[in-house]
């Protein structure tokens, strides 16, 4: 018995919990690498500003990491609670990939995180730097395995199936390095770096607007704009290649991204739909504005190349078009904006006005969430575009769910919604508060301890305003 309402809520629950989760690992991947770079620069140059920045960002990193850990523990059980049938069928293939993620990445990150956060005075500089690098490496290894697993669901390879519909591994290398994996991994890792670069740039710009002489803020703006200049265009190229790979393996997803319902007349080429309102029921776009031939140029790198339109698939085999269509446009638009900011920054740097141009710093502040929004919408494109399958072309979403009734899924969804809004609302408020505080020379590594012992970095005690340390509740 299939309960369509329960399956829809189960999808919503997975999307909701993963949507909240994905931001924080992305934050951790990008920021861990940035912290490793900062510590390396400090160790090489001995310049205080790099250590200040390291201490400034590590406090923010700790909060983001904790939110990533707790929402990640939820994810490791979400496959089983609402998607038991999927787990039973794909466990032999996907399970070991996740198992390797835990063994090679999660333990590495959490094992050395304590040393990275609190151990500078206990282990010395060399070992501390090693711990930072191992945490950064752990975040990247984690991306490797989880994207391999995700890519296998998009472009399954290296498996056989049993009569009762279970997937068995046949060739592990083919499973891990399935056709879409290299593109997705490159696209995602660059996305995390870009997201963090724009966040760091925005924080630097925010503090430059208040104090032009703040050296740490200058370094942030400068480093972030180098990243934007190099990585944003690179991301456009990688995204293009990823798109071509998707066209090869999941043409219906690309048709949904483009809002392409019909096959073009021979020689006419594909138009590029700039705007429109895709209507799943009418199988057409309303109010469409399109540029002839540009679609062919982008998708096939030729003038008249054609792709299959959505009407070539039965309605039951099409993904929900509007979500994919709009999310794709938001992602691409933000990507192009990020390229623009990188170029503008380079021009200002060349003119020697990088730290004076207040109008540009306001743009940077406005672009603070750009990378994260692009990442989330990109994830919506790829996951909603995979529908109506969980394992593309092989296992339908409707056949993947647990036998949990509608009330059960609804109550747990409500529970997640309430808890996540409280916890992540508070977390984001604390993150914003930390980032609104300017980095200072001699930035303490832990400003809010109630009392401080003499350490490597003597700093302000940072008392908690209205709480005496011995207050009882």
């Amino acid at each position: 018995m299939i309960d369509h309402g329960a399956v829809f809520l189960a999808r919503l629950q997975f999307a909701f919990t993963l949507g909240f989760h994905i931001v924080f690992p992305a934050f951790s991947i990008g920021l861990a690498s940035y912290l490793a770079v900062l510590e390396a620069l400090w160790l090489r140059s001995g310049r205080q500003v790099f250590l200040d920045l390291f201490h400034y960002w590590i406090k923010i990193f700790a909060i983001g990491f904790a939110m990533g850990v707790v929402s990640g523990v939820v994810m490791s059980y979400q496959f089983g609670t609402n998607w038991g049938s999927f787990s039973d069928k794909t466990g032999p293939v996907l399970g070991p990939l996740l198992g390797y993620e835990v063994l090679t990445a999660f333990f590495l990150e959490s094992g050395f995180l304590g040393v990275m956060l609190f151990g500078m005075e206990r282990v010395g500089r060399g070992l501390h730097f090693l711990a930072t690098c191992l945490v950064a490496l752990g975040t990247l290894i984690s991306a490797f395995w989880i994207l391999s697993a995700n890519s296998w669901m998009q472009t399954p390879a290296g498996f056989t199936t049993t009569a009762d519909g279970r997937f068995l591994p046949a060739d592990w290398l083919a499973v891990i390095f399935n056709p879409s994996f290299p593109y997705r991994l490159a696209h995602m890792v660059l996305a995390t770096y870009l997201s963090v670069a724009f966040l760091v740039g925005a924080v630097g710009a925010f503090h430059l607007l208040r104090d032009r002489a703040n050296e740490a803020a200058r370094v942030m703006v400068s480093m972030a704009l180098w990243m934007a200049l190099i990585v944003a265009p690179l991301q456009v190229l990688v995204g293009d290649q990823h798109g071509l790979n998707t066209l090869l393996h999941q043409p219906a997803k690309v048709a949904a991204m483009e809002g392409d319902w019909l096959d073009p007349a021979p020689g006419a080429g594909e138009p590029l739909v700039l705007f429109g309102w895709p209507d799943d029921d009418k199988a057409a776009n309303l109010h469409e504005i399109a540029i002839p031939h540009l679609g062919s140029l982008i998708l096939t790198h030729s003038w008249t190349g054609a792709i299959k339109g959505l009407r070539d698939w039965a309605p039951a085999d099409r993904p929900p078009v509007p979500v994919v269509f709009f999310a794709f446009r938001i992602m691409v638009g933000l990507g192009l904006l990020m390229v623009g900011v990188g170029l503008l920054g380079a021009w200002l740097r060349w003119r020697g006005q990088l730290y004076q141009a207040a109008w540009f710093h306001r743009i940077q502040v406005a672009m603070a969430p750009a990378g994260f929004i692009a990442l989330l919408t990109g994830w919506m494109v790829t996951e909603v575009g995979r529908q109506p399958y969980t394992v593309y072309g092989m296992l339908r979403t409707i056949d993947s769910a647990s036998p949990i009734g509608l009330p059960g899924v609804a109550i747990s969804l409500a529970g997640f919604a309430i808890v996540y809004f409280i916890v992540y609302g508070a977390g984001i408020a604390i993150l914003l508060r930390e980032m609104a505080r300017p980095p200072v020379p001699g930035e303490p590594s832990a400003p809010r301890s109630p009392t401080r012992a003499a350490g490597l970095m003597p700093g302000p005690a940072g008392a908690i305003e209205d709480i005496p340390p011995t207050a009882a509740e």
Binding site: V73, G80, T81, P96, G111, R448, P450
Partner: protein, 336 residues
């Protein structure tokens, strides 16, 4: 291989779950003790004593979930829906208490600090309770139809499961109290000794009741425990438990720092062995054995290669991380 691999993996996963129970057990226990320790400076110390290690401890839970998915997918696919409310409750509770580590120290007002104290204490307690309920529900048996859960919405709430839930809360609190005896000094340590004394009595009583109740749930369990010659192998478990009880009280009254913690650790290990004796070879009693739930040898073998290499390395650097933060925790050690 099809015979040996599930056995090896059952042992490895049992080890992972035991590692989770004792490691996260003491840091959840420290959270539970927030309910009875009211001074904010003591709470700072308590939290700082586990702050550098808690997320490493929780990673064993992820290994338990991910490992089950990988090597016993049918057990994962049936247990999670069967234990649905307990699992979801545990996850939500862990969210609260996990972020409380960061948020509590960032609190600027009395109200927000109070809120994160409640989140930490409440989250730790509810997570422990849900784990106990899930454990009890597993032991009393899961109803399976075909390849899915076939039982009802409330199967996990019975007298037995509630008792198990309470036992896990009290047991973790005891682990937390003995951890504090080890890692703190002065008045906080003295109060932790008093807590440990009371909790120790409660835990022993609960161990006895649950140990006698469990064999009554399933004739296979009682044959395993009281049959002949099985009793030759099973009788050391209660005998060792009694010996450890002596060590525990001796350690408490002689004011040993580490001995009470290690004895309680021993109790947890023995209870876990006892659980294994009852259940083996069933992973989802009363119907599903480890061989029936196992992933094919190609999956189990592939992950085993990694586990054999990586688990010793993980244990080594986890041990190193504990070593770095060894010793008594004192005010002003700013782990935040």
């Amino acid at each position: 291989m099809a015979y040996a691999l599930p056995l090896i993996w059952a042992a490895l996963l049992a080890f992972a779950i035991l590692a989770y129970v004792v490691l996260d057990g003491f840091d959840l226990g420290v959270g539970i003790l927030f309910l009875v320790e009211h001074r904010e400076d003591d709470r700072d110390l308590m939290m700082n004593s586990v702050a550098p290690v808690w997320d490493g401890n929780e990673t064993w839970l992820v290994l338990g979930g991910g490992g089950l998915f990988a090597v016993f997918p049918l057990a994962y696919a049936t247990l999670m829906p069967a234990l649905y409310p307990a699992i979801i409750g545990m996850l939500l509770a862990l969210v609260f208490r996990g972020v409380a580590f960061e948020f509590r120290f960032k609190a600027r007002t009395r109200t927000s600090r109070r809120m994160w104290n409640i989140a930490f204490a409440g989250g730790s307690t509810v997570a422990a309770l849900c784990q106990g309920l899930a454990l009890g529900a597993l032991v009393q048996g899961i109803h399976i139809i075909g390849r899915g859960y076939g039982g009802g919405w409330w199967d996990w709430v019975t007298g037995f499961t509630i008792l198990c839930g309470i036992a896990v809360v009290i047991g973790y609190a005891l682990l937390g109290a003995t951890w504090l005896i080890w890692r703190t000094e002065g008045e906080l340590q003295a109060r932790a000794r008093r807590h440990a004394r009371a909790l120790g009595v409660a835990v022993l009583a609960l161990i006895v009741v649950i140990s006698l109740w469990t064999p009554m749930l399933n004739p296979r369990f009682s044959a395993r425990w009281f049959g002949w010659p099985e009793i030759l192998l099973t009788s050391p478990v209660p005998i060792l438990t009694a010996l450890l009880a002596w060590g525990f009280w001796h350690g408490l009254s002689r004011r040993h720092d580490a001995a009470p913690f290690l004895c309680v650790l021993g109790w947890f290990v023995l209870c876990f062995i006892g659980l294994g004796i009852s259940l083996f070879p069933y992973i989802v009693p009363p119907d599903l054995t480890i061989w029936q739930a196992a992933a094919p040898p190609a999956s189990q073998g592939f992950l085993l290669v990694g586990a054999v290499v990586l688990v010793p390395i993980i244990l080594a650097y986890t041990g190193y991380a504990y070593w770095v933060f060894r010793g008594k925790i004192r005010p002003g050690m700013h782990y935040h």
